[in-house]
Amino acid sequence: MTARDILDLAWIVPALPLLGAAVLMPLGRRLREPVAGWIGTGLVGLSFAWAVVVFAALWSLPADARSHTVKLFTWLPAGGLRVSAGLLIDPLSITFALFVTGVAALIHLYSIGYMHGDRRFTLFFGYTNLFVFMMLVLVMSSSFLLTFLGWEGVGLCSYLLISFWYERNSAAVAGKKAFITTRVGDVGFLVAMFLIFATIGSLDYSVMGGAAGGLAAGTATAISLLLFAGAVGKSAQFPLHVWLPDAMEGPTPVSALIHAATMVTAGVFLVARAHPFFEASGGAASTTVAWIGAATALLAGGVALVQPDIKRILAYSTISQLGYMFLGLGVHAYGAAIFLVITHAFYKATLFLGAGSVIHGLGDNQDVRTMGGLRRFMPVTAMAFGAAWLAIAGIPGLAGFWSKDEVLAKAFFGDQYGVWAVGIVAAVLTGFYMTREMWLVFFGNERFRRPAEAGGDAAGEAPGDAAAVAAHAAGHDADADPSEEWLLSPTVEYGTEPRPAAVDGDPHRAPFPMAAGMAALGVLSVIGGLLSLPFKNLEFLVEWLEPVFGGVPEVHASSFLSAAGLSALAVVAGLIGLFAALSMYGKGLADPARDPLDDRLGIAGRILGHAYYFDEAIANAVRVPGRRFLDWMSEAFDQGVIDGAVNGVGRFFRGIGAGNRRIQSGLVRQYALGIALGAVGLMIYIWVRTA
């Protein structure tokens, strides 16, 4: 078998999780619990293994030949439009395929433990396998249209998984919100495809590279910005970011897989894939991307500072980090942005899995104000979470340092000092909010235990672990009706009272599959930076991606010293945030109801806490005047004005009916028979007259 024969078999990579979805979704509860999890995990693992084989085959080819299109069948032939169901195997697609399947396999493994006891255990793995399939279609497709299929497909899975516990109204609403908000951006994606077809006559990626350069700058800018609108929706950038914090209603492994590591980076993929259009736009499109990214990084980082919910902090952090990635794309640092996508997937997945482990251990508590000191009870979780914390804060040597540093350096040496400065400020915020979360959860005073007098009798009856497990199980399990408490959203909103501590005894540790998945990702958060070190011959990833982004002008540091100086500056920024947070939260919280940062910020804290009131303003606009208008349109207008003309006709007929009750006396058949006879009669009449 030659390398190209193996590349032709690349379809096996997405086919394996599709098989899993096709088996697991219809089986539902007929399959017993652990089996479904192992099937789902195993197939994604095999998919990863095959992706490695495909990667090796691609790697064996000379660098300028590393692009291979596999045509499976002609999907959509209509008029001048011809779209194949095909795969484009090149360094960009295989890089995404590798980290998606790799991270997904580990999160699947973790989920076997996390979803234990859930009444829809099998369905969960069916959905997640479908998600992996759709994500692979998205990144491996050979045309915009097939990418769009994957794009919408991951949106469907996101909807299903956010709403997975649909008995909770909050979860059902959040799923719908996510789907519809991202669809707003998708209008841009669709119109971009129309424009691409109208101007270059094909939606294939293979045509785009050559044809984009010949476009007028205005057309290229329009296409780029429309595509970017799609990316803004999917990757939760300002102003379409509002769905991502709510998406935390989904089970935590879903947050890790879809809403941190993979799906939300689809927008980054799209911009990277479509970079010839951005490059052809003469700078306008790229500058927009860079500034939207920088603004999102800063604004979301600010919101993360004061959130009390362990998952919401991470959600805003994800939005902020995605902003960094777009910042990188906007300064033409495509390779660096992809590098950040991958390292972010490692450390953010680790953070979410760690958070899930904490939530699991504390009986569904998500309030960091009533945690603290957990490192003694959950050492593996604390280690993994801690590694990811240092990685995201940009501590030298860990994955996040190398990738974020690369993006910021490219911004600086590309003379984009404005976005660079914003990126540095955002790095301070990152250091702060992550340290705050780390300390409030794992260090400082223990605030999770039920107060002695209230918990006394309960503790006497059941050990803490059992109580926590029972509380957890009551929500998820079997045929029991979920408890009232479980039906309420577990999300802790800013400005609410701290959730009462409810754990008696000690929190329980993560079971084996959870710990294993989490630990593996934690290790990757530490060493992930090795993928691409900023030294000659060690920039593996960036060099590997070079053939894809070959046409993009390179930006280089003016000297080693200036590059090192910049890095030092970024590290210092992260450390400032880190130590500022330590000074405030080093001992935990004396009173869970009082957050020292929030107290200091005053009104600014409230604005940040409510995410600048942006979401609330939209919701109010939709709920009150918007809805009133729609009600008017569907009742007063449709029924009154438009149907009014009809009622005139109706009255006329009713008048006739009143005068001739015998005809309208009930048997409607008579009308019909009359019509039928009338039609036949007309025929006969014409025939007789002319015969």
Binding site: A65, H68, K71, F73, T74, W75, P77, A78, G79, G80, L81, L145, L149, W151, E152, L156, S163, Y166, E167, K176, I180, D186, V187, V191, M193, F194, A198, T199, G201, S202, S206, V207, G209, G210, A211, G213, G214, L487, E546, P547, V548, M633, S634, E635, D638, I642, V646, G650, F653, Q664, V668, R669, Y671, A672, L673, I675, A679, M683, I686, W687
Partner: protein, 531 residues
């Protein structure tokens, strides 16, 4: 077998079924149901045979297959003339598929089963006749014949204000038919005056009219035909009969009404309005595109606010048929194919949605969203089917709805960018109204009075709806099954329009890749495509 009058058989079998059912004793409801199913399945079999033997034809206007031609009212020029092309083929297939499924979901009807089944079979015969007739009078005969059974089905087996709704349906479409009939007679008499031959043969009229009619006459006649069809589609603002008719119709009535009956309008646009009056079609296209866009957005917005599930789906039909109309009056190959595809896809997805709404009605005797809630928990399979149907109807890529909408939009975009861009926003609203209705009906915890009184789907119910959803998925993944057969007919129509007007479809060729130095890595290495 080539001499076998397959098209007559397609009309004759259900018609004969209606007669057989009428002769059965009233009390033998089992026999009636069985005979009804047998005849509809036999018709479906014949339609399958037709599909199998249909050849994706040459690009030639007036090219029909399996043509049957007999004198009827000889001196009047009215002939019994049937034929099928790529467009009508799928309308016939859709009809033949939806009827057996509609009878399957109608076992909950227990009043006068015999009458119900007989009228359904007559309706099927009439609908298939509409799509096969190539004589204007024969077409009009079937077109009007459809009204009677539909009227009775709503009026007698419906719910609520069924007589009001049936009458409203009747009055509206009858008013449209008056325009249509006047148009048919005028064009035929003009032809007689010009050539001395009185004929209603669509092929003859189509060849003659574009060159012979003055621009003004053709435009007036175009309006007459198009108004007649627009009521059926229904286009904004003459759509108000539709929600009432749907709400009060029995499930089978709604499935046929949305699935097939509305397509008589868009089919009429294609076969008559555009083919006979191509110049006028080009002239009127911007107005019709504008109406289509308004229909897409308006239908979707109004759908969102409906308190009744059936009205949600009914208004969604206004939006979907807006996409079909948009694609058709783009007059480009992609647009027209998208229009035809949307007609087929809408039959599958909306048919499925109406059947699924019917399952809720069978259990609770209401369509009001507020009477439900939390159904997913107690009926997980039904909830799963709903999810699939909802996303199929939203037009998620991978389902047939996406192919139709995408082609309609992209085909429109190449000639009328603003209309296409505006219509694209309809895809957001589609998600909004269906997901919102689904959320209120199926998510949350079930109301206490529903628990234990809401069984999940039965095998019969599963069998009736799964084929529609599976077909929608299949056509979303492999649309060539339809596109390859529709394309010749559509291209012939576009050529015909171009020949008789100043409209030119934008020429599209793939911009060749820039060879040379500036972007080497991007394009090299693509020569390895598998054949």
């Amino acid at each position: 077998m080539t001499d076998f009058p397959i098209l007559s058989a397609l009309i004759g079998v259900p018609a004969a079924g209606a007669v057989v059912v009428a002769l059965l004793p009233r009390r033998r409801t089992d026999a009636v149901r069985l005979v009804g199913l047998l005849f509809t399945f036999a018709t479906a079999g014949l339609a399958g045979w037709l599909m199998w033997h249909f050849v994706a034809g040459p690009i030639e206007i007036n090219h029909y297959q399996f043509v049957e031609e007999h004198a009827w009212f000889g001196d009047l020029g009215v002939r019994y003339l049937l034929g099928v092309d790529g467009i009508s083929l799928f309308m016939v297939l859709l009809t033949a598929l939806l009827f057996p499924l509609s009878l399957l979901v109608s076992t909950t009807i227990d009043v006068n089963v015999k009458g119900f089944t007989a009228w359904m079979l007559l309706l099927e015969a009439a609908l298939i006749g509409v799509f096969l007739a190539l004589d204007l009078i024969l077409f009009f005969f079937f077109f009007e014949l459809v009204l009677a059974p539909m009227f009775v089905l709503i009026g007698q087996w419906g719910h609520g204000r069924r007589v009001y709704s049936a009458l409203k349906f009747f009055v509206f479409t009858m008013a449209g038919s008056a325009f249509l009939f006047a148009g048919i007679l005028t064009v035929a008499f003009l032809h007689q005056g010009d050539t001395g031959v009185l004929t209603f043969d669509v092929r003859t009229i189509t060849s003659w009219a574009p060159a012979a009619l003055s621009v003004g006459t053709a435009r007036w006649l175009f309006v007459a035909f198009t108004v007649g069809f627009a009521v059926k589609v229904p286009l904004f603002p003459i759509h108000t009969w539709l929600p009432d008719a749907h709400t009060d119709a029995p499930t089978a009535g709604s499935v046929i009404l949305a699935g097939v009956l509305l397509k008589m309008g868009t089919y009429g646009f294609l076969r008559f309005s555009i083919a006979i009056f191509p110049e006028a079609a080009v002239w009127a296209a911007p107005a019709l595109l504008a109406i289509a866009v308004v229909g897409i957005l308006y239908g979707a917005v109004v759908a969102a606010m409906q308190p009744d599930l059936k009205r949600v789906v009914a208004y969604s039909s206004v939006a979907h048929l807006g996409f079909a109309t948009l694609g058709i009056f783009a007059l480009t190959t992609e647009g027209l194919e998208g229009g035809v595809f949307t007609m087929i896809s809408h039959g599958l997805t909306t048919g499925a949605l109406f059947i699924l709404v019917g399952y809720l009605f069978d259990r609770r005797h209401t369509h009001l969203i507020s009477e439900f809630g939390g159904l997913w928990r107690i009926a997980p399979v039904l909830g799963g089917l709903w999810v699939v149907a909802v996303f199929a109807s939203i037009g998620l890529p991978g389902f047939s709805g996406f192919i139709g909408e995408f082609l309609a939009l992209i085909g429109t975009f190449t000639v009328h960018r603003p209309f296409a861009a505006a219509a694209t926003f309809g895809t957001i609203f589609a998600a909004l109204y269906l997901l919102w209705a689904f959320q209120r009906t199926f998510t949350g915890m079930p109301r206490s009075e529903l628990r234990g009184h809401f069984p999940d789907v039965s095998v019969r119910e599963l069998v009736a709806v799964v084929p529609l959803l599976a077909l929608s998925l299949f056509l979303g993944v492999y649309p060539r099954l339809v596109l390859d057969r529709v394309e010749p007919a559509v291209k012939a129509l576009v050529d015909h329009v171009e020949r008789h007007s100043d409209f030119r479809e934008p020429e599209r060729r793939v911009v060749p890749a820039v060879t040379g130095s500036d972007r080497p890595a991007e394009t090299s290495g693509h020569g390895e495509d598998k054949p």
